[in-house]
Subunit: 199 residues, 2 copies
């Protein structure tokens, strides 16, 4: 790698880290490329030599958030043997924990909208979809006769339901719940859903 | 009522209606008091003689959205006799329908944040909470031995789970689902949750 390319890589990495810090502290609304440029010591316009646009920058931060979420769910799965139903409960609670510990970065995953007319790039969609395997795998054991498409629908539903509980539970707006009660309640509801689906 | 008070009431009503139209068309981000003032024919500053601030205006629009949601759920409940479990399914599907037919107004209910440090006024919280009776009532029949507090927690969980499915289902971002499939899937999941909880 040439010296110039090497420097660009380093600056790009600093930019992504600065953006991550900014989102983590104040959410997407706090992200100002002008401030990031000043923080990493480049001219304002130079940011766009490092990333195509703000959307790409936010997606790159999102990609790291997803990688850490993936690691957190994998760690939860590794915490001893469990039935597929118990595994789904454990994954749901781990999702809740991750969200509460990474509140703004997690919110940014869902609040970010591409500029009008611009689709989410293929690589980002693929990364998001890959996370569904954590739910899909135990469901495939529970429902061996369902088609991959049917399992996909159920995985999506379970995820959305748990996401809703985490979202409104952590939001402290309409529904304020202490995290400990939220974790318990999520486990109860996932257990009920799975029991109801298998009966 | 004096002529001046009467005129103020009329202008206030026009302002709320203009705000509702604006949110309905472009979401909260599209709401500009300057444009509303010009639309109802008052000076910019005069808006703040009609409502305390933008938060109050948004809450007043939200109040009407909640009243229409309340009516929609009540109508669904009136569509013939049903077991409590069937009633919960019906309410969940009616919630999905309302959200898809009033997408931006419904989103605004959840996206609106008060100015920092300002609590949501008591009357707005009371209105929001009153809607939970649609879920609470069938749950109280299903679980006659549970305390009001326990029923409240379950009502909150069911609502949040259904809300998550509607939110991600209608968002067409991570998870694109046709409304018809979404309605079916919500019914399936609510049925499973209730079956699992009662077993």
């Amino acid at each position: 790698m040439s010296k110039a390319l090497e420097r660009r890589e380093k600056q790009r990495e600093s930019l992504i880290q600065a953006a991550q810090k900014s989102i983590s502290a104040g959410g997407l609304a706090a992200l100002k490329t002008r401030e990031l440029a000043s923080e990493i010591g480049v001219a304002n316009g130079a940011v766009y030599n490092l990333v195509a646009d703000v959307d790409e920058l936010i997606l790159l931060v999102g990609s790291r958030t997803l990688a850490r979420l993936d690691a957190a769910l994998t760690e939860a799965e590794g915490e001893g043997a469990a039935s597929p139903a118990e595994m789904l409960e454990r994954i749901a609670v781990a999702y809740c924990d991750f969200a509460s510990e990474n509140l703004e970065l997690w919110r940014a995953l869902f609040e970010h909208r591409m500029a009008p007319g611009k689709p989410v790039p293929e690589w980002a969609v693929t990364e998001q979809m890959a996370l569904f395997r954590h739910i899909y795998a135990p469901l495939a054991v529970l429902f061996p006769k369902r088609s991959p498409e049917e399992l996909g629908v159920t995985a999506r539903s379970l995820f959305s339901a748990v996401h809703g509980m985490v979202l409104l539970g952590l939001e402290q707006k309409l529904i304020a719940v202490p995290v400990e009660s939220l974790r318990r309640e999520i486990a109860t509801i996932v257990k009920a859903m799975v029991a109801g689906l298998t009966k």
